[in-house]
Assembly symmetry: C2
Homo-oligomer: 295 residues x 2
Amino acid sequence: MDELMQALAGAAVEVEAMLDRVLTAESEPESRLINAMRYAALDGGKRLRPFLLLQSAGLFGVARVPAVRTAAAVELVHCYSLVHDDLPAMDDDELRRGKPTVHRAFDEATAILAGDALLTLAFEVLAHPDTHSNPEVRADLVGGLARAAGAHGMVGGQMIDLSAEGRDMDIGEITRLQRLKTGALIAFACESGAVLGRTAEPSREALRGYAHDLGLAFQIADDLLDVEGSAEEAGKAVGKDAVRGKATFVSILGPERAREQAHMLARQAISHLANFGEKATLLRQAARYVVDRRS
Amino acid sequence: MDELMQALAGAAVEVEAMLDRVLTAESEPESRLINAMRYAALDGGKRLRPFLLLQSAGLFGVARVPAVRTAAAVELVHCYSLVHDDLPAMDDDELRRGKPTVHRAFDEATAILAGDALLTLAFEVLAHPDTHSNPEVRADLVGGLARAAGAHGMVGGQMIDLSAEGRDMDIGEITRLQRLKTGALIAFACESGAVLGRTAEPSREALRGYAHDLGLAFQIADDLLDVEGSAEEAGKAVGKDAVRGKATFVSILGPERAREQAHMLARQAISHLANFGEKATLLRQAARYVVDRRS
């Protein structure tokens, strides 16, 4: 796993540098907004989505700048979603990545606006000529990210999640919820390499399959960490799902079967990568990692 | 002005139909989200930005579908900004376009998510091949809208506006605030016709100049309505700026000089259109209209 940890850390460094570059600080009155955006986006998280994107780009020989810019765009969307999810009207969280959430460190209005601006910046980054010399690729990326992040993707999943508190859900409903809430953006990250590489449909299909299984495995592991992990390791509050009476994979299947399911999904994710040979080694390791991680 | 009123109403009908089409209702659990998005975007407002966009597209013989889709995208961004601006943590408004605001009609979490999804949908609409056959134009539109709406545009202006409550500002600061908060999106609407028509820089420059003056004139008229208008006519609460101790063009210049300034800006806006001949007649009328309107 050392190679994987190095690649994860490397992806984090690269995307961090790009985020630092696109989030340019200014001395204008709106600098409070930029500061909140930087607080939300820099120096945090595993950067799993950027890692997946860079690995997927590596399968098709995509140049570094396009891949890193697209990875930064995905991470901007991920960070915006965390800022808004943490708001008092939503999950009302005080801690994120071991630091006060944006609305605690700044204020609620600033957190709403910083989230809005991070989301907007993601599309600005993708549309810029530096992201790809072919404008068709840029437009494809914008469309794909918007679909993954919007009402029929991540935000739709968040809406279902909020309406699900205190209500019974079956495995089918939870699976659909998570496919939208976390799966769609992970799938976009995995498919983007093929989009950037202008690759034909079979490869995209395989990466989509990998991403869907990986996303669900990741979510089940998250639910397990919420039950079994410590806040210190997780860098955020744990045990919240039970307090809120929220149905999760773990509350329905129990921890043992949930863990089995996560491992099964990881194996299934790996099976989609058969045609990519050695180039997909780290993506295979990542599938095992997401179910074994401690935070 | 009859011709202008007809053109405004016509633009409203066309953009309404397009918004209705892109905001497809579903019977899924997330239908609450779609309903909130439709509530925020349909059946409301003067649709000034779509009108400006369609007129600007008309100057360059742009086909109808590209123009209306781009107008819908701009209106989605405008509507999202109203939803978020009205939130309790922001302006805390109860009334918008004569109806309860989204967070009053639904709830706060739904309003945050609906705004997020409207913003995201705007970029999805622009990136779609139906918006223009040339992907370079689509990517240009995405980049332009993102810059107009983001941290160095509309959201940045909103941040300054929030930090300005109870603080003295001079005319220069207020002008910059409004240029970002309302001017940037209006400028994008006016310039989009030239982008869609693939027109050279002088035309874009002229439209940008027109839009900047029009945007400021519009804002001064808005400030005057807040002082002198009735809630019934405006469809929203009035007199708020004074209550919040917010510096406006009117609080600094006084109503008389503010009105003069608005008329001067309208004339200046019109002067930018000299090279467009009769095709720009309605844009000229619009400049007079924004300062004379009663709501």
